[in-house]
């Protein structure tokens, strides 16, 4: 597995990177940004992508790190999965991100792969896009024309297609803090410990004083060409008083999650066909919500 030849460029700053990308665009060259390389390099090695050059952001410290910014946590695009899941700020204020990141691949991949790379790759089977969607994250991007922000709901356009224009670099992601009363869980179903999710469910649930669910946000992994919100279920969960399945066999949570797959178009692949994925989405959403409620 040897990639086709390409040039390697290591910009000294983000401005520099944006300039290189802009020049390449003018010249009509296909240039790719390189972060941790954990998704891009396999594509090159399988010769499924033939960029003429890679622009390596790996040595730009300004793109790396986690910051507590009051109402949100800012995660630099080049922060590795390992740094994210170990960050005290992430664990305290946006625990769902830490929970989901800990399920990504294996330690070797987590030490190289980056938070921003996972988003920019826009793989619906990746664990973090569904989390970003559920938490309504905001993506901060920059090109030689300046900076702009993209809400998560608009970021994942299609399979492996983020809303990044050619020449744009993802700088970082704002993850809103949800405040008190919320519980979180990421439920990943995969065939081996290091495999990608067959289906994953990111759940954030807020319970009111009376114990009933007041708000739920559910992001689904690998249920379509992009991550999706289980909106029907989010609505159905509102006002549900979760009780351990009653003596009459009723389970209000299960009922509320019975349409978790509504509006999805799950793929068929070696690990699952669509009907099975739909079934999993329903079962796993029930479990994720239950676990988030604690």
């Amino acid at each position: 597995m040897i990639p086709a030849p390409f040039d390697y460029i290591r910009p000294a700053s983000v401005e520099d990177a944006c300039r290189v990308l802009a020049d390449a665009e003018t010249a009509g060259d296909e240039v790719k940004v390189l972060a941790g390389g954990q998704s891009l390099l396999p594509l090159l090695r399988l010769r499924l992508a033939y960029p003429s050059a890679l622009v390596d952001l790996g040595r730009l410290p300004e793109l790396r790190g986690v910051a507590d910014r009051g109402d949100h946590v800012y995660i630099g695009a080049l922060t590795t999965h390992d740094e994210v899941m170990r960050s005290g700020v992430v664990r305290e204020h946006v625990p769902l991100v830490a929970l989901a990141t800990a399920t990504v691949a294996d330690p070797a991949v987590r030490h190289r792969g980056t938070f921003g790379g996972s988003m920019a790759h826009a793989d619906p089977a990746g664990d973090l896009p569904a989390v970003a969607l559920a938490l309504d994250c905001v993506f901060v991007v920059r090109s030689s024309d300046g900076e702009r922000e993209i809400p998560a709901a608009e970021f994942f356009v299609d399979y492996l297609e983020p809303a990044l224009e050619p020449g744009e670099v993802l700088l970082g992601v704002r993850v809103p803090k949800l405040g008190s009363g919320w519980g979180f869980h990421y439920e990943k179903f995969h065939r081996t410990a290091q495999a990608w999710a067959t289906v994953g469910v990111a759940a954030a649930v807020r319970r009111g004083d009376g114990g009933t669910i007041e708000e739920a946000r559910i992001g689904l992994t690998n249920m379509g060409p992009t991550p999706v919100r289980a909106r029907v279920t989010e609505v159905a969960l509102r006002g549900v008083a979760p009780s351990p399945s009653g003596s009459n066999g009723s389970d209000p949570l299960r009922d509320a999650c019975a349409q978790a797959d509504a509006g999805t178009s799950p793929p068929a692949d070696l690990h699952a066909r669509p009907d099975y994925r739909r079934h999993l989405a329903r079962v796993l959403t029930r479990r994720a919500v239950g676990a988030a409620l604690g």
């Binding site: 086709a4 081996t192 399945s245 066999g249 699952a272 066909r273």
Partner: protein, 823 residues
């Protein structure tokens, strides 16, 4: 003044310098030594084939067929030839005159069809990944780039993917001679009588899915020539067999060909082969006069390492109401793939003698048809034929137990050969020399907590727990120690089954053991050192083991079929014994005693009843000095031995597996696993443990995870490790292992072999457990690998109604697409 070279003096000096370590009082046999070869293997600072660098070396890359079946109407390599760094590029046609045909050493029947098998396709490709052209360049990157400049014209032909369809009238043909390679039959007893009026007949079909052997080290080859002679370095299990076969197929005279298996990182049978790449590397080195190297990528390996298993099994067991088995009938279709490689047709037949398992019965009938398809050829993969056989009989016996309402352990007890009955000649004609199924089973049941788990299972069934518990039993045996040469002859195999060893005492008393086995991860250097240390009374550290180079170990039959210890280790012992007898003769001479009065103990020869003695190190130096030897005694303490066993060996054991099946998602998790194996006497318990753990993991891989999948066009879709899933430690429970030790009576070490036991035993244990968990739901079987989706579908389609809360939602029929393309 020079001192007189005196043996005793020199020995004293060596002792002073600390070079002679005292032999330890503890026997080496049975000692859990850490493996002496591991430091270099684990760190990779060693001679892996891909680490070899030779002056002027060139790199080969192969262009491989993107189609399962096509006529080649044109190959144009001219553009590739003109690229920078490219030294040569060839099509199959360019090499057609000299490349010959890859060998099949096992023509199992008189009328077997053995098609011509060119290493590089010339007119037609018959499996995806078959090499059609190659580039030789100054580095591997240029070679890979140049492949894209080669133009090949293909005229697609119909793929042949399904064995049953392949045998039907008018099916597209893989080869002109048709898709049936052979039909092989074997029988014992009166099978019709056994089935006639049988009160119970269990008749089942099982699919042994196609597996892709996944060794840690990919295949790699380096070929070099000095103009006259050739050296081939290859990540192979079989340097000796390879040399003979290559001499026969390439025309390079045997004495001009040296084959080296440097350190090799695993094989599991996949490196028991004469590969196209090995032959082509030699031809390219010959054409170009320069060394060439090829190392496969993982995806290339998934396509073109020979595959394993791939059989359709039909097994029928006739029994009485009390559970006594009357007879077993087996019909197999075995997928050969597109060609017959080294032992392709023999693999299913290695199972032919094992479908009766550990059980007594009146009759047995076996038929196997080998079928050509447009897939990568199959060949040996850990267990080779025996895992398939064990799976079928152990699954069927569990089904029999269920049919009779009997405990699966009890049915086995009623049928197995009891400890008093050994040696026992089975219905398949093998004589099991020793065994104790009662002991292994009792121990396993106790360790497993069988009764407690059955109680928990009943409770969960009662409660309709969505997570159900299943218990799987596998009481296996296998034939190991390939093999008595006369038996191989009677099975039409092309070679014998002996093994060779040479042992030499060096002047300073150190020992070199030269073995014909070819370790590729098994730890022979450690185990053989232990055997030699005990036999010669020398310290373990004083022994080194040489192997894997035909110019060093000139004679051997290599490593596969759990044969190395049982045949090769015994040869080491025999050579040591010969050395010892020579040393005794020399000791007797030096001590002026009769050899009969000289006894050997702990590395010292002593005249019986006296203190007078000589250490084996002193004798080594005396032989080297040769100043004072018995008349006619050659000045050396060396010996060679070739051991040809009289019988196979028969390890056995009881494996018990408990699984938890989540009936909502279909996920199966192994909760506990107990293995009690009887591999005879144990040289090194740590190595045995390692083999059992790895073996179980590999068998679980077949049960739950692994499958080579082809799409409807015949393309392999599991070409990466994201698609072809093998379990890692994180996917497996802690295995609880123990042993019983019933020594083999067929060899002086009492050993039976352990390389394949875990793999053979574990697959049926796991699947039996899954079937056991799902039986109350009306599920009879789940096809391997038992993926969550297959389990869920089996539950959804099963006929028994269970309470809604534990029932998987039934998919609407419109959503059930035909599963996963063609197999």
């Amino acid at each position: 003044m020079t001192e007189q070279l005196d043996a005793g003096l020199v020995a004293g000096r060596i002792a002073e310098s600390g070079q002679v370590s005292e032999p330890s009082a503890e026997r080496e046999m049975g000692r859990a030594r850490r493996r002496k070869e591991d430091a270099r293997l684990v760190t990779g600072r060693t001679m892996w084939t891909d680490n070899i660098q030779l002056p002027g070396m060139l790199y080969v890359a192969f262009l491989r067929s993107p189609m399962a079946h096509a006529r080649i109407t044109g190959v144009d390599v001219s553009a590739a030839r003109s690229l920078p760094g490219v030294v040569a590029a060839y099509s199959g046609r360019d090499l057609a005159e000299e490349q010959g045909s890859l060998p099949c050493a096992w023509p199992v029947t008189e009328d077997i069809v053995i098609p011509d098998h060119p290493p590089m396709a010339v007119d037609e490709v018959r499996y995806p990944g078959e090499a059609v052209a190659c580039v030789v360049a100054t580095d591997r990157y240029r070679a890979a780039d140049a492949l894209e400049a080669i133009a090949v014209d293909y005229e697609p032909l119909d793929p042949v993917l399904d064995m049953t369809e392949a045998l039907a009238e008018g099916a597209p043909k893989v080869h002109e001679a048709g898709n049936r390679a052979f039909t092989w039959k074997f029988a014992g007893g009166d099978i019709d009588a056994a089935f006639r009026d049988a009160p119970v007949v269990i008749d089942r079909a099982y699919v042994q899915q196609r597996l892709i052997p996944t060794a840690m080290e990919p295949r790699a080859v380096v070929a070099t020539t000095d103009g006259d002679g050739f050296t081939l370095y290859s990540a192979t299990q079989i340097p000796h067999v390879l040399r003979v076969m290559l001499a026969m197929t390439t025309g390079i005279p045997e004495h001009k060909l040296r084959v080296v298996a440097p350190d090799v990182g695993g094989g599991f049978g996949s490196k028991l082969q004469v590969t196209a790449e090995e032959v082509l590397a030699l031809l390219l080195a010959r054409r170009l006069g320069r060394p060439v190297k090829w190392t496969e990528s993982r995806s290339e390996g998934n396509l073109t390492v020979h595959h394993g298993r791939d059989q359709l099994q039909r097994i029928a067991v006739a029994a009485d109401r009390d559970g006594r088995i009357r007879g077993v009938r087996v019909e197999l279709l075995a997928d050969m793939g597109a060609y017959l490689m080294l032992v392709t047709p023999g693999v299913p037949l290695l199972g032919a003698f094992m479908y009766n398992g550990i059980y007594k019965m009146d009759a047995y009938d076996f038929t196997c048809t080998g079928v050509f398809t447009t897939k990568m050829p199959t060949d040996a993969y850990r267990g080779a034929g025996r895992p398939e056989a064990t799976f079928a009989i152990e699954r069927a016996v569990d089904e029999l137990a269920h049919e009779l309402g009997m405990d699966p352990v009890e049915v086995r007890r009623r049928n197995w050969i009891t400890r008093e009955e050994f040696p026992y000649t089975t219905i398949a004609g093998l004589t099991y020399d020793s065994g104790d199924y009662e002991a292994a089973t009792e121990k396993a049941l106790a360790m497993f907590g069988y009764d407690g788990l059955r109680a928990e299972q009943a409770d969960r069934r009662e409660r309709h727990d969505p997570v159900q518990l299943g218990i799987g039993v596998s009481t296996y045996t296998e034939m190991c120690g390939l093999a008595p040469s006369r038996v191989l002859g009677s099975l039409s195999y092309g070679a014998g089954g002996w093994e060779h060893a040479a042992v030499r005492l060096l002047p300073t008393g150190k020992v070199e053991v030269v073995t014909g086995t070819s370790p590729h991860g098994q730890g022979h250097e450690t185990a053989w050192s232990q055997i030699a240390a005990d036999a010669l009374g020398v310290p373990f550290e004083d022994v080194s083991v040489l192997h894997g180079d035909t110019s060093v170990a000139h004679r051997g039959m290599d490593t596969y079929g759990s044969r190395s210890l049982v045949v090769g280790g015994v040869a080491v012992l025999a050579a040591c014994e010969k050395v010892k007898e020579r040393a005794r003769e020399l000791a007797a001479h030096l001590m002026e005693a009769s050899a009969d009065d000289v006894e050997f103990d702990g590395g010292r020869f002593r005249v019986r009843g006296t203190d007078e003695g000589r250490t084996i190190q002193e004798l080594a130096l005396a032989a080297f000095a040769a100043h004072d030897l018995p008349g006619g005694f050659e000045p050396r303490l060396d010996a060679e031995a070739t051991f040809d066993p009289d019988n196979f060996s028969f390890p056995h054991g009881t494996h018990l597996c408990a699984v938890e099946v989540d009936t909502e998602t279909g996920r199966c998790a192994i909760r506990s696993y107990v293995a009690v194996d009887d591999v005879g006497s144990v040289v090194n318990p740590l190595i045995v443990e390692g083999q059992v753990h790895g073996g179980i993991a590999q068998g679980v891989g077949q049960a739950l995870f692994e499958e080579a999948v082809h799409d409807a066009d015949g393309n392999l879709v599991t070409t990466t490790m994201a698609d072809y899933l093998i379990p890692s430690a994180a996917d497996l429970p802690e295995f609880t292992t123990d042993r019983t030790e019933t020594p083999a009576t067929s060899n002086p070490l009492g050993v039976k072999g352990v390389g394949e036991a875990g793999t053979i035993a574990s697959t049926p244990a796991v699947v039996n457990a899954i079937a056991d968990a799902l039986r109350p739901y009306g599920v009879r079987d789940v096809r391997m690998p038992c993926t969550p989706e297959r389990i869920w579908r089996a539950l959804a389609e099963a006929e028994v109604t269970v309470p809604a809360q534990s029932r998987a939602a039934v998919p609407s029929t419109s959503e059930i697409a035909p599963e996963g393309g063609a197999r």
